[in-house]
């Protein structure tokens, strides 16, 4: 390795010149290193495979949404046609209220349910995030939110437990291993080959030389991950500018963090074998043991709410509403004996009463339980600052639109829509009005494309916060490593 010995002004080579020279020399060496090419190929292969998986998952999700929309339009068409026939007296109105396409409460609770879904973000294939656990489609009905929020997609539970091989997994878990593989001996290797003395004998600052070497090694892997992501990941380019910048930043930061860690460990002056083991142990702690421990702490302090409690509360509300209804009926019939034998549509009125009561109860309990879940998440978010890997994972999920922020915004829009949808049908039922074919055209429909600006800003803020925290840790590690190096030198 040949470094410029001095510059005309200072008598010492400029750091920039040393950096460029070190990087150039390292590039030349790596060009002939089979291991380096294997690492690059492995990186590209992992990203390509993850990209392929992302494409398959997007196709599956698209199929689910298309089927739901098709089902919705089939249901509404069938009801409209039947109601049209009834209105034109070509068919009798069904005796059973639950079959009557004009019965607002039964239509709203069942066949008139509206489809709500969260469209894929431009970079959705990059990270599965929590999207495989959440239902791809919600069938919003007049019933309580509990009746549609927890209807899940069919999936093998063991597959949900294991997770998938997505780009986030490659960047957060595999890229660091490759960085460790190529950078663990950045200083110890020089010492073991006897070239460290040569570097030290030049006037080039050791830390700058090592930074140049790391730039090529870790930067090369990051560049390969970025290029492969652009080539193999299904991306909607027209609206992915921000997400792609974030993705590139995340890849670069991941590489930089692990490279800084390599420098820090190397600066301790131990041999390559020790460095390799120490760095792998750190990988195990940061990616396996640490996140598991943080998750355990969050779960112990703020356990997930019991959904069974929700079920029981809603059922109790239904029983209470039925009893109230019986009592009201009994009082009314006692006070108006002339109506005692007149048949009325008691079933519809009862269903309406139960629906309204159970829905109110479900809303109250769900709000409480959402509060518990939020508290657990807030604690988990704070603890994540202890584990850069968790922050990077979170940033990638947010960039892919499969993170918590976008889902929460979607649920909040669904809640607003549910209230409007319920109001439409309950108002009709309360007024004892039958639905008409014209009403069918006025059914509230969920607009999946309207995402709130606040949520987008919150998501952006979360990504920036996560990446800034990792950048700070990287900087601190680098400074500590340089300090160690200057002491040992």
């Amino acid at each position: 390795m040949h470094f410029p010995l001095e510059t005309p002004l200072s008598g010492r080579p400029s750091r920039r010149a040393v950096l460029i020279t070190a990087a150039t020399c390292e590039s030349r060496l790596l060009l002939k290193d089979t291991g380096w090419w294997v690492a690059l190929a492995l990186m590209a292969a992992c990203v390509a495979y993850a990209g392929h998986n992302g494409r398959v998952r997007l196709q599956e999700r698209g199929r689910i949404v298309a089927q739901a929309i098709q089902d919705e339009s089939r249901r509404i068409d069938a009801l409209t046609k039947l109601l049209d026939k009834i209105e034109r007296h070509e068919a009798p109105r069904p005796d059973a209220p639950y079959r009557d396409p004009g019965n607002a409460i039964y239509v709203g609770r069942g066949q008139g349910a509206a489809v709500a879904y969260l469209p894929d973000a431009p970079l959705a294939a990059a990270a599965i995030g929590m999207s495989d656990l959440y239902p791809q489609v919600l069938k919003v009905s007049v019933g309580g939110k509990d009746s549609f929020l927890f209807v899940d997609e069919i999936e093998n539970p063991a597959h949900l437990l294991g997770g998938g091989f997505d780009l986030a997994f490659v960047i957060v878990s595999i890229l660091p291993l490759l960085v460790l593989g190529t950078c663990h001996d950045v200083l110890s290797g020089e010492r073991e080959r006897g070239t460290l003395a040569l570097i030290l004998s030049s006037s080039a600052p050791l830390a700058t030389v090592l930074t140049g070497k790391l730039l090529v090694r870790a930067g090369g892997l990051a560049a390969m991950a970025t290029i492969a992501s652009c080539l193999f990941l299904p991306i909607r380019w027209e609206s992915a500018a921000f997400a792609m910048s974030g993705l590139v930043a995340t890849i670069m930061l991941t590489s930089a963090f692990w490279a800084a860690l390599c420098l820090f460990v190397n600066a301790a002056g131990r041999d390559s074998a020790f460095n390799a083991v120490a760095l792998l142990m750190i990988w195990v702690v940061l990616l396996v043991v640490g996140p598991a421990a943080l998750n355990a702490i969050a779960q112990v302090l703020f356990p997930a709410p019991s959904r069974a409690e929700l079920v029981i509360a809603v059922r109790e509300a239904a029983v209470d509403a039925e009893r109230d209804r019986d009592a009201t009926d009994a009082r009314y019939r006692a006070e108006h004996p002339e109506t005692a034998d007149k048949p009325g549509d008691d079933r519809t009125a009862r269903t309406l009463a139960v629906t309204v009561a159970a829905d109110a109860r479900a809303d109250a309990i769900l709000n409480d339980q959402d509060g518990l879940v939020r508290r657990q998440r807030e604690l988990s978010d704070r603890l994540a600052y202890l584990m850069p890997a968790c922050l990077l994972q979170d940033a990638l999920a947010e960039l892919a639109g499969n993170g918590q922020t976008r889902w929460d915004d979607y649920l909040s829009r669904v809640a607003t829509f549910h209230a409007a949808f319920r109001h439409f049908f309950v108002a009709k039922a309360n007024a004892r009005e039958s639905l008409t074919t014209a009403d069918y055209g006025r059914f509230p429909r969920f607009d999946p494309k309207v995402e709130s600006e606040a949520a987008l800003r919150a998501s952006l803020g979360r990504v920036v916060q996560s990446l800034s925290a990792v950048a700070l840790v990287t900087l601190a590690l680098s400074l500590a490593a340089v300090r160690r190096l200057s002491r040992s030198a």
Binding site: L133, D152, N156, A158, L160, R307, I312, C390
Partner: protein, 490 residues
């Protein structure tokens, strides 16, 4: 190491000490003196204790929730006033999945499978409420359970114990010295295996005893014979897995050019085995044996159910059934039937429905089982794929146990439907559309009670996985024996 074999004389008697035993003692002494190993073992033990404590806390909370839910649902069911039995059947009951005691060690798929099933008229429902949905993204990166420590951390210890067994001695120049003194390579392998195995299997034994003790503290009922048999099954699976890892480490160490090369190769396998292979296997299996979407599945059931009459009195199947009933009772009008025709139609419709549900859910379950089998098939190469199902099955937290719960819930749903329809048949008059059963009927319909499958069925379901794991482990032992019999001295 001083001699290949030692012959000691004590009070005139000759006591022969096996060379393997001597090697083992030397290795053990070195391990005991090494503060890094003491620290590593202490950290592992701490992880075991913490994960077990967390498991016990979680189990206690889930049991309390289950108890409260079961009691609450019973109250709600019996609190129904006078009501048409079919209305009550529509109101239905909930089946809440109880959690088994060994979930303290391996929570398995429980958080991802749903914890309750709504049992209502005319419809078999899937399990609801996957508690993992309420977790955080960080929770997808791993959960601190005893199974996690045993599956991921203990193999790592086995690797760290074994990677330098031969390569390290070679580097230090002591391997050639020992071989020159006449130490047989087999004795070296056996001695090192005895010392390392004592550490790894000792930790496994401590974990197993810890689980037993943890359960015993919760009460004698938690440590029934079935649980002991399950615990033994889990112990056997983990022991085979860890012995395989130890043997693999020795094998690689005996052939590797340096301890570093051995360590890199072994850690590479560990990472692929624990983190990469399970994910790749999932992706491959999802493509080879895809599941229907919920919409496809429900549409297929709805299509099949078109053959049923449900509440549609103009359906051809309804008319045919009415004819059959009238003929059976020898009357010409429904009003003349001695029993409630409505009750009969509900029972008939339910029974046809049961066959439809059995057919569709049976097919879905078969696909799930095929997925599980395919995923575990790679366990011959990547043992975690065979071990995970064994561990979950023994803990009662795998797909098969979940499926058993779903089936039990469905049987209970059918009992409720039958009881409701029978009450109508026996008590409702054909000219009384407003018949209501007395609340005593709700008391007579029992609550859902679930008994987990026996330990034997858990063992039986894991025969293939035990075989895969044993083949892998035996192959590793074989390779270790072969490679260490002719280790590279330099």
């Amino acid at each position: 190491m001083t001699t290949a074999s030692a012959t000691l004389t004590r009070e005139g008697s000759r006591l022969t000490v096996s060379p393997a035993w001597t090697v083992a003692r030397k290795e053990w002494t070195e391990l005991a003196r090494d503060s890094r190993w003491r620290a590593l073992i202490a950290v592992t033990l701490a992880m075991m204790v913490v994960s077990l404590a967390l498991g016990l806390l979680h189990l206690g909370r889930l049991e309390r929730e289950h108890q409260a839910a079961t009691t609450g649902d019973r109250w709600v069911w019996t609190a129904q006033g006078p009501k048409n039995p079919h209305s009550a059947a529509h109101f239905g009951q909930y089946a809440f999945k109880p959690v088994g005691p060994l979930a303290v060690a391996d929570p398995g798929t429980d958080e991802f499978a749903g914890s309750s099933v709504y049992l209502e008229a005319h419809r078999q429902n899937e399990a609801q409420f996957r508690s993992a949905r309420d977790g955080t993204l960080g929770s997808r990166m791993g959960r601190l359970s005893l199974a996690f420590v045993l599956q991921a951390v203990l193999p790592l210890m086995a690797i760290l114990l074994g990677f330098a067994a031969f390569a390290g001695e070679r580097d230090a120049g002591t391997l050639a010295l020992q071989l020159s003194l006449g130490v047989r390579p087999a004795d070296l392998l056996l001695g090192k295996a005895l010392a390392s195995g004592a550490v790894i299997l000792g930790l496994l034994l401590l974990a197993t005893v810890g689980v037993g003790a943890g359960l015993a503290v919760r009460g004698p009922r938690a440590v029934e014979a079935g649980e002991v048999a399950r615990l033994l099954g889990a112990f056997a699976g983990y022991a085979i897995y860890l012995v395989g890892f130890l043997a693999l480490s020795f094998a690689v160490s005996a052939r590797a050019s340096s301890p570093r090369a051995a360590l890199v190769a072994l850690l590479g396998f560990w990472i692929v085995n624990v983190f990469v292979a399970p994910r790749v296997a999932i992706d491959v299996v999802r493509r080879v044996e895809p599941l229907p979407t919920a919409q496809e599945f429900r549409s297929a059931i709805a299509e099949s159910r078109k053959a049923q009459f449900g509440h549609d009195e103009s359906h051809p199947a309804f008319l045919a059934f009415r004819e059959r009933v009238l003929k059976h009772y020898g009357v010409s009008r429904v009003a003349d039937l001695p029993v409630s025709f409505r009750g009969l139609t509900l029972r008939e419709d339910d029974e046809v429905g049961y066959r439809t549900f059995d057919e569709h859910y049976g097919r879905l379950n078969e696909r799930l089982r095929t997925q599980d089998r395919l995923r575990a098939a790679a366990g011959v190469v990547f043992p975690s794929l065979a071990l995970q199902p064994i561990s979950m099955a023994m803990a009662g937290t795998d797909n098969l146990h979940h499926d058993d719960f779903i089936r039990a819930a469905e049987r209970h749903r059918r009992r409720i439907q039958t009881a409701a329809s029978q009450d109508l048949i026996d008590n409702a008059r054909n000219d009384d559309p407003n018949y209501k059963a007395a609340p005593e009927l709700w008391e007579r319909v029992p609550s859902f009670h679930y008994e987990r499958p026996s330990a034997w069925s858990a063992w039986r379901s894991q025969g293939a996985n035990f075989l895969s794991l044993s083949i892998w482990s035996a192959a590793c032992v074989g390779v270790a024996w072969r490679t260490s019999s002719r280790p590279r001295p330099y």
